[in-house]
Symmetry: C2
Subunit: 161 residues, 2 copies
């Protein structure tokens, strides 16, 4: 952690800026919490910062994440993760099922379906989407943010390994 | 405003995502506040959201803004604004003066000097930097955030004109 703790904020942002997709603000905010005793301590700071955001900010964080299929520019991290989960090799049927379910999900919750794809596979993702769409908006906001934290956890491990 | 109010969040983010530099989270958060009665109402929502951030979040917002000269990738908006203020045509002396002052500023406050360059010119910017560096961290955080709001104001006007 000595290397991390000695980084100025620009360097820290270059390295950790996308641990939460398209939200460099998060890394930029927690940098001031140095020194971190471990990667887990850094992760705890990130989690606490996310939790401190108002509801609108948490919803906004989800809206910055591109759809699982279709629209949106993917970061290199996101592209790699989605390819690993098999989302780049969907059958035409799976692709249209995922698109339709995700469109319904967005129109119900006003944010996209977010899931840590690296802890899943394409069949489970489609099944989860079909199931989570029946949750309350409150539950889904919480679940989406939990998934953001799981994605962040794995990205932090990648960087520090 | 009818056009703006009818935008889905993806479209809204494409258009307003960078009214606060490198913080699409802000536009993504306030989108839910539609319908907006006017551009001023939208701006008010953005200001309120910024004010609702914890101190670390406000500092993080400033850290996402590239230095006035030197390091950092500029958004097209930022590039245009800096060129208008004459920051791309500094003399060697002005450039080194600005660099040195900004380095001192960052080492004192842990965030960069932020100023709405379109409401200024290069001589005033250098003079302001030399003067603001003597403020307290609390004062500079507040001033920096006020400048972020001025930059946002002008970017909103550009988009809506």
């Amino acid at each position: 952690m000595q290397t991390v703790n000695s980084m100025n904020y620009e360097h820290f942002l270059d390295v950790f800026g996308n641990v939460v997709e398209k939200c460099p603000l998060v890394a930029a905010a927690v940098w001031a919490g140095r020194p971190f005793s471990s990667v887990s301590a850094l992760e705890k700071n990130i989690g606490d910062f996310i939790d401190s955001l108002p509801r609108s900010g948490k919803e906004g964080m989800l809206r910055c994440i591109p759809d699982l299929v279709g629209r949106g520019t993917l970061s290199p991290e996101s592209q790699r993760e989605r390819s690993q989960a098999g989302l780049t090799s969907l059958t035409a049927g799976q692709r249209s099922q995922l698109s339709e379910l995700n469109a319904s999900y967005k129109s119900r919750f006003n944010f996209p379906f977010v899931i840590c794809v690296r802890m899943s596979d394409k069949e489970t993702i489609i099944q989860q989407l079909g199931s989570r769409i029946r949750n309350s908006p409150e539950q889904e906001l919480q679940t989406g943010i939990q998934e953001v934290k799981k994605i962040c956890h794995l990205r932090l491990l990648d960087i520090s390994s």
